[in-house]
C-alpha cells in the first residue's frame, strides 16, 4: 500500500492525540484535588475523532461541540494554558472562567462552543453554515454530536434543514455506545445511526472512530464535497469511552470484555503505530513528543494555578451591570 502521509503530518496527528490524552488524564487528577469543579466529561478513548475531523478542516471552518468537548477544542488548536485556566474557572481562561468545561468556546478559531444541553449545538452549527454561505465564505461547519444527541428531535430537524438547503455541514456522530448508562441498542431499534441520513436524502457512513486516519480520510472527503456544494454529510464514528460518563461515574454497567476489546483498539496506540510504521519515526522520537506534551501540560497547569481569580465586579462590569 502506498503511504500518502508525511512524517510531519503523522507527527501532528499523534501530538494532538497525545495532548488530549494528557489533558484529560491531568484534568481528572485536578478534579480529584478539587481544582476543577462541576461536571467533567473526559474524552478519553474518543481522541481520534476530534483529531481526524479537525485535521480535515481549514482555518475558515466552524465547529460546534458537546458536553464532552475538550478534544474538539484541543484538536482545533486551542492553547492549553487558556483551556486549563478556563476549566479551573480563572480569569485568563477562554471564557474568563464563565463557561467552564461544558461551555468552553474559542470564537477566534470558529469553535462556537461546547454545550451543556445534549443536542443544543446541532442547529447552531447549521446556522453557521447558512451564514457562511450567505456571506460568500467557503466555510464548512463540523457539528459534533453523540449517540444520545441523535435521539433528540433537533438532530432530525437540523439534518433536514441542512439537507433541504444543501448546506456545507458535516454531522459527526460520536457513537461511544452509551448515553450515560443507556446502551444505544436500548435507545433505538436501529443502532446503526448513520442510516438515519438516508431518510433525509443525505449520504452517511459508519467508520472506525478509533482509527485516526480513517476518520481523517472520511472527513477530508466529505469536507471537500461540502465545499463543492454536495453537503451535508453524516459520519458515524464508532468508538468507546475508556471510563464512566463523567469523572464520578465508575461505569459499572460497562462489560469488562467490551472495555478490554476497545482498550486494544486505543486510538492513541493506533496513532503511535501509524507514526512509527508509516511515518518511520523512532521510539525515541515518539517519547520526545510525549515528553514535550507533558511539559506543555505541566506549564498549562502552573499557569492556571497562578492565574488570578475572576471577580463578580469584573463580571458585572463586562456585562453592563445587573441585567
Amino acid at each position: 500500500m502506498a503511504n500518502p502521509y508525511s512524517k510531519a503530518f503523522l507527527t501532528g496527528l499523534y501530538r494532538q492525540l497525545w495532548t488530549i490524552r494528557a489533558f484529560e488524564t491531568r484534568c481528572i487528577q485536578l478534579y480529584r484535588q478539587g481544582l476543577i469543579r462541576g461536571y467533567l466529561h473526559p474524552y478519553l478513548g474518543q481522541e481520534a475523532i476530534a483529531v481526524g475531523v479537525c485535521a480535515a478542516l481549514g482555518p475558515q471552518d466552524y465547529l460546534t461541540s458537546t458536553h464532552r468537548g475538550h478534544g474538539h477544542c484541543i484538536a482545533r488548536g486551542a492553547d492549553l494554558r487558556r483551556m486549563t485556566a478556563e476549566i479551573t474557572g480563572k480569569q485568563a481562561g477562554y471564557c474568563q472562567g464563565r463557561g467552564g468545561s461544558m461551555h468552553i468556546a474559542d470564537m477566534s478559531q470558529g469553535n462556537l462552543g461546547a454545550n451543556g444541553i445534549v443536542g443544543g449545538g446541532t442547529a447552531i452549527g447549521v446556522g453557521a453554515a447558512l451564514s457562511a454561505r450567505m456571506q460568500g465564505k467557503d466555510s464548512v461547519c463540523a457539528v459534533f454530536t453523540s449517540d444520545g444527541g441523535v435521539m433528540n428531535g433537533t438532530f432530525g430537524e437540523s439534518l433536514n434543514l441542512a439537507a433541504a438547503w444543501d448546506l456545507p455541514v458535516l454531522f459527526v456522530i460520536e457513537n461511544n455506545q452509551y448515553a450515560v448508562s443507556l446502551p444505544v441498542r436500548e435507545a433505538t431499534r436501529e443502532p446503526e445511526l448513520y442510516k438515519r441520513a438516508a431518510g433525509y436524502g443525505v449520504e452517511g457512513r459508519r467508520i472506525n472512530g478509533n482509527h485516526v486516519l480513517e476518520v481523517y480520510e472520511t472527513a477530508a472527503e466529505y469536507v471537500r464535497r461540502c465545499r463543492a456544494g454536495e453537503g451535508p454529510f453524516v459520519i458515524e464514528a464508532l468508538t468507546y469511552r475508556h471510563a464512566g460518563h463523567h469523572v464520578n461515574d465508575p461505569g459499572t454497567y460497562m462489560p469488562e470484555d467490551q472495555k478490554e476489546h476497545y482498550r486494544k483498539m486505543d486510538p492513541c496506540l493506533l496513532g503511535r503505530q501509524f507514526l512509527i510504521e508509516l511515518g518511520g519515526a523512532s521510539c525515541e522520537e515518539v517519547a520526545a513528543i510525549e515528553a514535550d506534551v507533558q511539559q506543555a501540560m505541566d506549564d498549562a497547569v502552573e499557569f492556571a494555578r497562578q492565574s488570578p481569580e475572576t471577580t463578580i465586579e469584573d463580571f458585572l462590569e463586562q456585562i453592563g451591570g445587573d441585567q
Binding site: 466552524y62 460546534t64 481562561g93 477562554y94 471564557c95 474568563q96 472562567g97 464563565r98 463557561g99 461551555h103 468556546a105 474559542d106 470564537m107 477566534s108 462556537l112 462552543g113 454545550n115 451543556g116 444541553i117 443544543g120 446541532t122 442547529a123 447552531i124 452549527g125 447549521v126 446556522g127 453557521a128 453554515a129 447558512l130 451564514s131 457562511a132 450567505m134 456571506q135 461547519c141 428531535g153 433537533t154 430537524e157 437540523s158 433536514n160 434543514l161 433541504a164 463586562q318 456585562i319 441585567q323
Partner: protein
C-alpha cells in the same frame, strides 16, 4: 384575516403617510433594515411568497429574494437555532415564530443558548438575533394560540423584551431591535396588526430600547400598560375624563430594559398607580413593576398599587369567556375608581 391584496399593502407605504397600519409599519422596518444592511435576513414559516400569516413580511421575498427571506419547515427549535448560529457568525437574523405559544418548543434555544452565549463565553460572542412573535387573546383562538407569555422571557437575564403598542413604536422599536447586539424577543399583538396610527416619515425612524412613552398625560392616576392594554387603557382614560379623572397612561414599550425613571416620575406626580397586564396575574411583570415602585417611590404612594390582570386560567375558546379572562375597559375603570377612593360599583 384581511382581503387586502398583497401589492396594495406595500403601495400604501409612501402614499398617504397620515395613518399606517401596525403590520405595515413592521414591514417597513424590516424592508428598510434589509436594504440598509445585507446581513439582515428573515426566516420563519410561510413568510416568503405568502408574506406571513399577518402579512408582516409581504413583498420582502420579491425585493430581497429567497436567499434572505427564507421559508422554513415546521421545525421551530432548529430554525431558531439556525438563527443563533448565523448571529454568532456575523449575520443579523430576524426569526419569526408564528405564535408566542410556539416559542415553548424553542425554549432551550432561547433560554439556554441565545441568552447565555455572551455571558458563558466571557464576552467573546454576541447574538444579534430578533425573535419576532405575536401573542394575546381576542380572536377566539383558544388556549394554545392566545397566551401572553412575556413574563417568561422577562425572567431570563440576557434577553431584551419589546412589546410595541402603536404602529410608530412597532417600526421604531423593530429597527432598533435589529441593530441591537443582544437577543431581542419582539412581541407583537394579534389584535394590533390592523390598527392604524401616524408613523413619522423621517428617514431611519428609531426608538431606543429602554425608553418608555407617555401615551396620555394626566395628574390623578398613573396607568401602566403595554401592548394591547395601551389602547384599552387609553379608552378607559377617555371615559374617566368624563368623570373628571385625568389618567396618565405610561407605556414602557420595552420591558427589558425598563424605563424605570419614566414610571417613577409619573408615580411621584399622580401618587396613584394601576398596572394593567393582559397576562395571567400570577408571576407576572405587573407584580414585579409593583415591587419596583413600592421600593423606589413608597413615600409618594397614596394607597396600594392595583393590578388589573388576566385570570389565572388558560384562555377559553368561547368568546364571552375569553373576554372575561383578560382585562377589559370596564375592569380598568373600576380599578382606577378604587385607587382614587371613588365608588367602584358605578
Amino acid at each position: 384575516m384581511s382581503a387586502t391584496p398583497p401589492h396594495d399593502l406595500r403601495a400604501r407605504h409612501s402614499s398617504h403617510r397620515g395613518r399606517v397600519q401596525y403590520r405595515t409599519a413592521l414591514n417597513e422596518a424590516l424592508a428598510e433594515e434589509m436594504r440598509r444592511d445585507p446581513k439582515v435576513f428573515v426566516l420563519g414559516e410561510g413568510i416568503g411568497e405568502r408574506g406571513g400569516s399577518y402579512k408582516v413580511t409581504q413583498g420582502l421575498r420579491a425585493e430581497f429574494g429567497a436567499g434572505r427571506v427564507i421559508d422554513t419547515p415546521l421545525a421551530e427549535a432548529s430554525f431558531t437555532g439556525v438563527g443563533i448560529g448565523a448571529a454568532l457568525t456575523g449575520m443579523r437574523p430576524v426569526v419569526e415564530i408564528l405564535f408566542i405559544d410556539f416559542t415553548m418548543l424553542v425554549m432551550d434555544q432561547i433560554v439556554n443558548q441565545a441568552a447565555k452565549v455572551r455571558f458563558m463565553t466571557g464576552n467573546q460572542a454576541r447574538v444579534p438575533l430578533v425573535l419576532r412573535t405575536q401573542g394575546g387573546a381576542g380572536n377566539g383562538l383558544a388556549a394554545q394560540h392566545s397566551q401572553s407569555l412575556e413574563a417568561l422571557f422577562y425572567h431570563i437575564p440576557g434577553l431584551k423584551v419589546v412589546m410595541p403598542s402603536t404602529p410608530a413604536d412597532a417600526k421604531g422599536l423593530l429597527k432598533a431591535s435589529i441593530r441591537d447586539d443582544s437577543p431581542v424577543i419582539f412581541i407583537e399583538h394579534k389584535l394590533l396588526y390592523l390598527t392604524e396610527g401616524p408613523v413619522p416619515a423621517v428617514e431611519d425612524y428609531m426608538i431606543p430600547l429602554g425608553k418608555g412613552d407617555i401615551k396620555r398625560t394626566g395628574r390623578d392616576v398613573t396607568l401602566i400598560a403595554w401592548s394591547n392594554m395601551v389602547p384599552r387603557s387609553l379608552a378607559a382614560a377617555d371615559k374617566l375624563a368624563a368623570e373628571g379623572i385625568e389618567a396618565e397612561v405610561v407605556d414602557p414599550r420595552t420591558l427589558v430594559p425598563l424605563d424605570e425613571e419614566l414610571i417613577l416620575a409619573s408615580v411621584r406626580k399622580t401618587e396613584h398607580v394601576v398596572i394593567v397586564q393582559e397576562a395571567v396575574r400570577r408571576g407576572g411583570v405587573a407584580s414585579d413593576l409593583a415591587s419596583i415602585i413600592q421600593a423606589k417611590a413608597f413615600d409618594y404612594l397614596d394607597g396600594p398599587i392595583e393590578i388589573v390582570a388576566g385570570l389565572n386560567t388558560p384562555i377559553p375558546f368561547n368568546l364571552a369567556l375569553e373576554s372575561a379572562c383578560v382585562p377589559q375597559e370596564a375592569d380598568i375603570i373600576r380599578a382606577v375608581r378604587r385607587v382614587l377612593g371613588r365608588n367602584a360599583c358605578l
